[in-house]
């Protein structure tokens, strides 16, 4: 997903869930900041680099190609943008293939429940991070947060579902590499990363091969991933985004303390119902960026002005704070929450027997040096 949903739509969801305008701003800022908090930015403000929640294109280009670098990439992308749906999914194949298959992102997995529960009772920044992760489980379905040709590749069998005179038709999507030309929504010429036959190439990370299509709320498309045995998958973004919105409202109510527990496969359709038509209109409007629409909707909801996302909003505050005050600043709380999320997801992946995110040790479980030898849960 992109700024229109992570920032403005999250604001709307938070407000509908009962948060105040100020709280909603804090939540949506953190939700969007997950897409901006790179190591480059952290170095600039002298923040801990392990709190990175994303990697810029240039960082990925410069990344090493060895095993440790792949672990680092998988940790970040699987923890924040491609949360695995089922770490124990039944699959046949070699160990490497099974490990990658089990990192495929999808909504309503056990890890999502843990992500939302991890944010309960924590800062608004933690809530924002959880909302970003939740929203991305819907948009980035069927892709994995690890470089993998077999999981993330797409081929010529890629069609957008359109309607002509009320009849559904398939229109072929052609992917190109001309960034200057951008996405042409009318002709179906979209940007995508170049085809790389190397299984572990960084070009095969996430939904790069499918370009921005998963992040367009209006897009409905069909394609045939290599892992699905010649079966097509259908991605209905307007429906998925609406479900994401309603699930966010439900999760936010839980995080506010209104509800006792958070369950997967549960959505607060009733709370959202008065706004359903307007939301669906925004989601279905064929535009690459819906920020203006969501902003207008949010401002109508709260009667307040929603300022544009400013990446530098809190940087000065953080840089000037003393070492003891830093954790209490907004960025400080964001970094703590990010590290907690990354640790949790990495631990679950490692505990499931999957080594793609590297090793994980539960510090609290260590009593003596003996515990470090061959301890696995």
């Amino acid at each position: 997903m992109q700024e229109d949903f992570h920032y403005y739509a999250t604001y709307c969801a938070a407000y509908i869930a009962g948060f105040s305008h100020e709280e909603s701003l804090a939540i949506c800022y953190s939700a969007q900041f997950v897409d901006n908090c790179s190591e480059t930015l952290l170095e600039k403000i002298r923040a801990p680099r392990d709190a990175a929640t994303t990697q810029l294109q240039l960082e990925l280009m410069d990344a090493r190609t060895d095993l440790l670098a792949r672990h680092a990439i998988t940790r970040i992308w699987s923890s924040f943008h491609f949360l695995p749906r089922d770490l124990f999914a039944p699959v046949k194949g070699g160990k490497m293939y099974c490990s990658k298959y089990r990192l495929i992102c999808g909504p309503n997995g056990d890890l999502l429940k843990e992500t939302v529960e991890l944010a309960r009772g924590k800062s608004l920044q933690a809530v924002g991070i959880a909302m970003h992760v939740l929203a991305d489980t819907w948009a980035h379905m069927y892709f994995a947060g690890t470089p993998s040709l077999v999981i993330n590749n797409i081929d010529a069998h890629f069609f957008e579902m359109r309607e002509a005179d009320g009849v559904p038709v398939r229109r072929k999507i052609r992917f190109h590499r001309n960034i200057a030309a951008g996405d042409d929504l009318e002709t179906g010429a979209m940007i995508g990363t170049p085809a790389q036959m190397d299984e572990n190439s960084v070009f095969n990370l996430g939904h790069g091969r499918a370009g921005h299509l998963p992040d367009y709320s209006f897009a409905r498309y069909v394609y045939m991933p290599a892992w699905n045995g010649y079966q097509e998958v259908f991605k209905d973004n307007p429906s998925d985004y609406y479900h994401a919105f309603c699930q966010m409202v439900y999760a936010l109510r839980f995080l506010r303390g209104e509800l006792k527990e958070f369950r997967t496969e549960t959505y607060d359709f009733e709370r959202v119902q008065p706004y359903e038509e307007e939301i669906r209109t925004i989601l279905n409007r064929r535009q690459p960026n819906a920020c203006a629409d969501w902003k207008a909707f949010g401002e109508k909801l709260s009667g307040e002005t929603i300022g544009a996302f400013d990446i530098e909003a809190y940087q000065k505050e953080y840089k000037e704070a003393g070492e003891e005050e830093k954790p209490r600043t907004a960025p400080g709380m964001f970094f703590d929450a990010a590290r907690a999320q990354k640790s949790m997801v990495t631990d679950r992946i490692f505990s499931s027997g999957n080594l793609l995110a590297g090793l994980s040790i539960r510090i609290g479980d260590i009593g003596s040096l003996k515990d470090l030898r061959g301890k696995k849960k």
């Binding site: 009962g18 081929d155 045939m224 010649y230 097509e232 259908f234 429906s239 209104e258 509800l259 359709f269």
Partner: protein
């Protein structure tokens, strides 16, 4: 602040866990305190019509526009095999062309001397350049003749791809040609053991098989695979077309 808008007390059973001081949420100004939650969504209760497991009908997933019936999946798999084996038929033809070029170049074959020795002396008398030109012309003719199969292979591969994608209605000629080429390649391999006693053939096959033989047999295999899947594709297409369920193949 009017009492009806004062923040509601969160019941103790829903109170959040203890939050460490360093992670405590920022204090919210009283004028921005949480709004009153409508009574029908009081804490701890999920409205009955949204109880877990229920989804309002208008939000239930609609009919999927995917083509995933068993026959359609098999058709797509078959079509892909036709496209890939058609590509393999072309690639082996190109390999044959490359092999001819290497053979001629690395062996420095004098085609004029080989094909028309009586002309060789008279041509040498006319100068080295003339000799080279005649040799070059003979080389291209030699390539053309030795690789007569290449245009046929290209036709087979392209027809296979077009047939699999349903772009054009293709006749069965390419299937017949593919089978013929495969048979000829196998026959050529068997022919090379003409002079070998039958009892010695297995040993001779293992000892005498060259890389070229391996490639020729693989090429034959790709032709037979193409033939097999192309026939299957036609049979499946006929059945699916009757039901109007032929899937897209990209």
């Amino acid at each position: 602040m009017p009492t009806e808008n004062a923040p509601r007390e969160v019941p103790t059973e829903n109170a959040p866990g203890e939050v460490p001081a360093e992670n405590a949420p920022r204090e919210v100004p009283t004028e921005n305190a949480p709004r009153e939650v409508p009574a029908e969504n009081a804490p701890g209760e999920m409205p009955a019509e949204n109880a877990p497991g229920e989804m309002p009908a208008e939000n239930a997933p609609g009919e999927m526009p995917t083509e995933n019936a068993p026959g359609q999946i098999q058709y797509r798999r078959c079509a892909r095999n036709v496209i890939i084996s058609g590509g393999a038929v072309i690639m082996f033809g190109l390999w044959g062309l490359l092999k001819s070029v290497f053979y001629y170049s690395l062996n420095r074959i004098d085609l004029v001397n080989l094909l028309a020795p009586e002309l060789s002396e008279s041509l040498r008398g006319q100068g080295a350049q003339v000799y080279r030109i005649v040799n070059t012309i003979l080389f291209f003719m030699f390539l053309l003749i030795v690789n007569l199969g290449l245009p046929i292979r290209i036709y087979i591969g392209r027809s296979a791809a077009a047939d699999a994608r349903g772009v054009k209605k293709k006749s069965v000629i390419y299937i017949v040609l593919s089978a013929l080429i495969g048979i000829l390649l196998v026959a050529g391999f068997i022919r090379s053991f003409d002079a070998v006693p039958i009892s010695d053939i297995p040993e001779e096959v293992i000892r005498g098989m060259s890389p070229s033989d391996v490639i020729n047999l693989t090429s034959a295999a790709s032709c037979f695979v193409l033939t097999w899947y192309a026939i299957r594709l036609r049979i499946m297409r006929r059945e699916l077309d009757k039901e109007g369920r032929r899937p897209y193949v990209a």
